[in-house]
């Protein structure tokens, strides 16, 4: 299985709660195990993405920052039970 990004979202400039809402919508389209990349500029999104991942059970595999731009990589969880 190759580690490739299935979907990439440009969320730059968007404020709470739009980055999470757009991400949640896009995650619905993914197959279990697929990765989504989200690029945001809202500093609040760092804790929001972490909380969303914990709450929904979709692992946040990457959370990095470079010059005020935040990059998150989420993996769609295996379907429950």
């Amino acid at each position: 299985m190759s580690i490739t990004i299935a979907t990439s979202l440009d969320l730059k400039g968007l404020s709470c709660p739009l980055p999470i809402i757009k991400t949640a919508k896009a995650m619905k389209q993914l197959m279990p195990g697929q990765l989504l990349e989200a690029i945001a500029t809202d500093p609040g999104s760092v804790s929001d993405f972490k909380a969303w991942a914990q709450s929904t059970g979709n692992p946040l595999v990457e959370s990095t920052q470079e010059g005020g731009v935040y990059r998150f990589v989420l993996m769609k969880k295996e379907t429950m039970q």
Binding site: P17, I21, T23, A24, K25
Partner: protein, 177 residues
């Protein structure tokens, strides 16, 4: 210590380690002001985005933001009509609970929101519907304040009463805004 006891202890610890997430959110939207409806809709859309089964029960002043933006006067008798004149409905005509300054406050707030790319209450209302948030108007308040189903926006669920609202709230995260 028997294997059974150890297994039992392990199982108990596992249960304790599980995050206790409540997967339903019920918000009672009582206030009709811009600065209260806005966070209500932000929390409702976010709850739905977190996979929570989300319900917003609109009651009292909270019903007016559900009035269609193009509907100006509602009500059948003079008191209900006067109320709609003094308290215009619609999610694009909301007032601030403080610093309203005859509409200058909300106008400034909207340009700040625009500047910071914050979704407006109207946009959030549309998103809430798209995300499957249950938007329920309170039947009793509709009757009392003279708001008919056709005065209210599309995409709402059937008007309901306090029992339905409380039944929904059972075991859910509940907020009264």
């Amino acid at each position: 210590m028997s294997v059974n006891t150890i297994e039992q202890q392990l199982a108990e610890q596992l249960v304790a380690a599980q995050p206790t997430t409540t997967n339903r959110l019920v918000i009672f939207a009582w206030s009709g002001e811009l600065d209260k409806i806005w966070p209500t809709l932000i929390l409702a859309t976010t709850g739905a985005a977190m996979g929570k089964d989300t319900t917003v029960f609109f009651t009292f002043w909270g019903l007016f933001p559900l009035v269609k933006n193009k509907v100006r006067i509602t009500g059948e008798n003079w008191m209900q009509r006067m109320l709609s004149v003094m308290n215009r409905g619609g999610d694009e005509h909301l007032k601030l609970s403080k610093m309203n300054f005859v509409g200058a406050g909300p106008a400034m707030m909207k340009s700040l929101a625009n500047w910071h790319h914050v979704a407006s209450p109207h946009e959030l209302m549309e998103m809430a519907k798209e995300l499957g948030v249950h938007l329920i108007p309170c039947q009793m308040t509709m009757d009392m304040l003279g708001l008919k189903r056709e005065d209210l926006i599309d995409g709402l669920e059937e008007p309901a009463g306090a029992t339905k609202a409380l039944a929904e709230a059972e075991g859910a995260i509940t907020l009264f805004i």
